[in-house]
């Protein structure tokens, strides 16, 4: 008796242990299954129609030339399960051709009708693409531009930072003033200091500032470090130096 009950319990336990394993495939299968069949249906429905009856599709929907590209995309993306999500946009284009998918046809037809006139079907997509590329180009060019130098902001941030003590700030200000005096002398032709020597002094002073700031105020240290060349460009160029209030 006990043997039978224990055997039954073992069977129940084994079934219970295997139970969580069974549902796991179904979620994936359920998640993919509905989408996959639809995709396959749309692909199946989409691929044959263009080959079989492009004329009826053209007649039913005014914008049918764009879909072929979408169909090709769906046909390419359909085999891979990862492309299960992308089919949605592709489905909008393919259903227009396919007669089976009524849901997808309506949105696609609406969008095409809104975006493009019935006769000129290929023209609208081209302008959209050109606009998209034109908007992308400026974005790509913007990062290339050097950051604007806000010397006043940096100076104010240096004054306000708590990473440097009062004595240290005053000492740094003295050294900055000394360096600015050397640049004035250089641009005025009063001193025979070479630009290389000035660059060394500039780098040394900036190194001191960064050393003092890197632990206590890393954002300011980063801002100053990124503005190094801009500051040097302003100091080294006579016109820029004189135009600024430093000269």
């Amino acid at each position: 008796m006990h043997g039978i009950t224990s055997l039954g319990l073992l069977v129940l336990v084994s079934l219970a242990a295997c139970a969580p394993l069974r549902p796991s495939p179904p979620p994936d299968a359920v998640g993919t299954a509905p989408a996959a069949p639809q995709e396959t249906d749309t692909v199946k429905n989409g691929t044959p129609p263009p080959a079989e009856s492009p004329a009826p599709a053209m007649a039913s929907a005014p914008n049918l030339q764009p879909p072929p590209a979408g169909q090709a995309a769906t046909a390419e993306s359909a085999p891979t399960p990862a492309a299960a999500k992308p089919p949605a946009p592709a489905a909008t284009s393919s259903p227009a051709k396919a007669a089976g998918a009524a849901k997808a046809k309506a949105p696609s037809g609406k969008t095409f009708a809104k975006t493009s006139p019935p006769d000129e079907r290929t023209a609208p997509p081209a302008p959209q693409a050109s606009v998209a590329t034109a908007s992308e180009q400026p974005k790509a060019e913007q990062p290339k531009a050097p950051p604007a130098l806000d010397l006043a902001s940096l100076e104010q941030r240096l004054r306000d930072t708590h990473a440097i003590g009062v004595f240290t700030k005053l000492s740094l200000k003295n050294q900055v003033d000394d360096l600015l005096g050397a640049f004035r002398a250089y641009h005025g032709g009063q001193d025979k200091i070479s630009l290389t020597a000035l660059r060394q002094r500039f780098d040394l002073l900036l190194l001191k500032v960064l050393t003092l700031l890197q632990d206590g105020d890393p954002p300011l240290a980063s801002a100053i470090s990124s503005s190094r060349e801009a500051i040097w460009g302003m100091l080294a160029d006579r016109e820029k130096f004189q135009k600024s209030q430093l000269g």
Binding site: H162, I164, F167, T168, L170, S171, N174, K208, G216
Partner: protein
């Protein structure tokens, strides 16, 4: 009897500690150390700072070096090794 004394000691401790906790910047010893280092003079750590007057201090470093750090009438920070 001893409770008032404890409270007084606690209050004194809090008053003494609060300024150091509120100060976000470096300690004055670190400020003096950085000032001395900016002048190119060695000082690993300031262990004592004696105030002589406004912006006038006598700093003693852990390595035994002593410096007179002050602001001269021209507004420049001067560090003199003693």
């Amino acid at each position: 009897m001893h409770q008032p004394i404890y409270f007084l000691a606690l209050a004194t401790t809090l008053v003494a500690v609060t300024p150091s906790l509120g100060a976000e910047g470096p300690s004055f010893g670190n400020d003096l150390k950085a000032t001395i280092a900016l002048q190119g003079m060695p000082c690993d750590q300031v262990i004592q700072a004696k105030r002589n007057g406004d912006s006038d201090y006598l700093a003693t470093c852990k390595d035994g070096n002593r410096y007179h750090v002050f602001v001269n009438p021209q507004g420049r920070v001067v560090v003199q090794k003693l």
